[in-house]
């Protein structure tokens, strides 16, 4: 699959008269999984929507392979960049195979007919998302996790080098969240797809992303590898929350444990545990426990 570069320079964008993003610069690492995190209303969805051309920037540009995306014909853009938006609509009664086939739309002109190439792409997408057995079933009968995999399959059938996902794990229960994120990791490794996703769960983002982008107040606060970004200082700055960052024993990635006012275990000598540990001697909690950002 051809490699494409995606860059954002000086982006100011928003809705109506208000700008949500002010002067944002970002280089999306090609071929890696990038997760965008931040508090509510920090602009992460706005950034994704600007990158996928759903909203036009007031200032600044989004560059795909060095060219501004806003001047590209829709079809050409859709062949390179796919998007899974927050609330996709599945028409009543549509089957999985039918829905995934819609992903071939950018590759079909006005008069082109369906070819074997299209079938191959659809089949490959179904296989990659392990939804082949569901092919003839109506989408509205599927579970949340299955449905999300089907939507990802549709984006896969588009055969794009870049895939953007807007909160793909919201509303899914934990098993399905892991299912979807594992799938995206597979895709990134086997197809080399550049994945950019907005996640609300900080710990899942740290576990699954190669590159983490933390936003606050419409600006980029920090970016880098998860172990660089997920520090107590950054959590405090981005989420306004005290925390302790430990190593997740399951994935060997950093994990954030939030510290509120209550339910803080006391040390054996009766004193409260210091919320600003100096070393790594703090005990880890039971593995698999997922912290949630506010």
């Amino acid at each position: 699959m051809t490699r494409h570069s995606l860059t954002v320079t000086g982006l100011c964008a928003g809705y109506g008269d208000t700008d949500v993003l002010s002067g944002l610069d970002l280089v999306v690492p090609t071929g890696e999984v990038t997760a965008i995190v931040g508090a509510n209303a920090c602009g992460k969805s706005t950034l994704l929507r600007a990158m996928s051309r759903l909203i036009a920037p007031r200032r600044g540009e989004v560059l795909l392979d060095g060219k501004a995306i806003h001047h590209m014909p829709s079809r050409d853009l859709a062949r390179v960049m796919g998007l899974l938006p927050q609330a996709p609509i599945a028409p009543e009664g549509i089957t999985v195979a039918d829905l995934v086939s819609r992903g071939r739309h950018p590759h079909q002109g006005l008069f082109s007919r369906w070819t074997r190439r299209d079938d191959e792409a659809v089949a490959a997408a179904l296989t990659a998302t392990r939804t082949t057995d569901l092919a003839e079933r109506p989408v509205d009968e599927l579970s949340g996790g299955q449905r999300q995999r089907v939507w990802i399959a549709m984006a896969l059938a588009q055969e794009t080098g870049i895939l953007l996902l807007d909160e793909p794990t919201t509303f899914l229960d934990i098993a399905h969240q892991i299912e979807v994120l594992d799938l995206l990791t597979d895709l990134n490794e086997t197809r080399g797809t550049t994945v950019v996703m907005v996640l609300h769960d900080l710990n899942l983002a740290a576990r699954y992303a190669d590159h983490l982008v933390a936003m606050a107040g419409g600006r980029l606060h920090v970016r880098g590898r998860p172990d660089e970004v997920l520090t107590e200082g950054n959590v405090r700055a981005v989420f306004g929350l005290e925390s302790r960052v430990v190593t997740d024993p399951v994935s060997a990635r950093p994990m954030m444990l939030p510290i509120g006012r209550r339910r803080i275990a006391e040390a054996a000598d009766g004193r409260s545990v210091d919320p600003q540990p100096t070393g790594s001697g703090a005990p880890a909690t039971s593995p698999g426990w997922v912290g949630t950002a506010p």
């Binding site: 809705y15 109506g16 996928s52 051309r53 759903l54 829709s74 079809r75 050409d76 853009l77 859709a78 062949r79 960049m81 796919g82 998007l83 899974l84 938006p85 927050q86 609330a87 996709p88 609509i89 599945a90 028409p91 009543e92 009664g93 549509i94 195979a97 829905l99 819609r102 992903g103 739309h105 950018p106 079909q108 006005l110 369906w114 074997r116 079938d119 191959e120 659809v122 089949a123 490959a124 179904l126 296989t127 082949t132 092919a135 003839e136 509205d140 984006a155 588009q158």
Partner: protein, 346 residues
Amino acid sequence: MSALDATIERLAGARGRRARRRRLVVLALLALVGSAFWLTLSLGQSYTPPGEVLRVLFGEPVPGAGFTVGELRLPRALLSVLAGASFGLGGVVFQIMLRNPLASPDIIGISWGASAAAVIAIVVLSLSGPIVAVVAIVAALAVAVLIYGLSFRNGVAGTRLILVGIGVSAMMESVIAYVLSQAPAWTLQEAMRWLTGSVNGARLADALPLLLSLVAFGGMIAARARDLDVLRLGDDTAAALGVPVGATRVLLLVAAVGLIATATAVCGPISFVAFLSGPIAARVFANDGSPLFPAALVGAVLVLVGDYAGQFLLPGRYPVGVVTGALGAPYLIYLIVRVNRSGTSL
């Protein structure tokens, strides 16, 4: 054969089966239209044998049947098919684009706008002929723009659009009622035409603007049929799949409004045909593909059969609009019940 190839074969097979089923349904609908058309031509107050009907159709002068078939029945049947197809196609495009079967042009005021314009053109401005159709199209477009503009607040929400359309509908209806009341020379029949739609007194010349509109606007819609299919997935998803959402919507809406307005200018707002054709076609087609062409066919059948029933099958003569209105009413209620219960769209 690898597992992937097996999947490909399966997909191709399923696709082929669906395509065959689709063709079958379309053929059945075409046959239905054809037989209804034939019935209208041959059986009325008197029976005309097929041979004579054919001879009239080919332009030969036939005593008796030449008038009955050629002057009375043929224009009526032709207008019914063309108007029905126009209403059906225009209606289903609206319903798909606004993602709600209740967002049909006859409920949100477009048909009423066209009818009001036609009535004003005929009564107040004393126009007649194809110019009335043009006036109706312009007015209907203006009404559509008005409804769109009034429902625009940080983007258009479907719910607000439908409600604004209901309000505009009420205004248009009042305008029609007022203009009609100021034209005492009119008979009840004429009034009925502009309030519920009728093909009474059809002339062959009226069919021409309808045919042109169907070809022109229908062609525009056909060219974008695939994009429309993808629009059903939501604006964001469609944009991500390369559909120029804004431009496509405008184009399709203009074409749909054009179809509805022309048909209304000739026959009046034939009640419910625009509303019913899409859902009926969707049920018959069972989501096997684009319901555009089937909806047009269903519309043609509804008007043909409705007019025939209104003339010969019911006690008393009713214009087609009353028949489709009365028969369509329970189905309308049923559809609302279904929509509400399942909470889904077309």
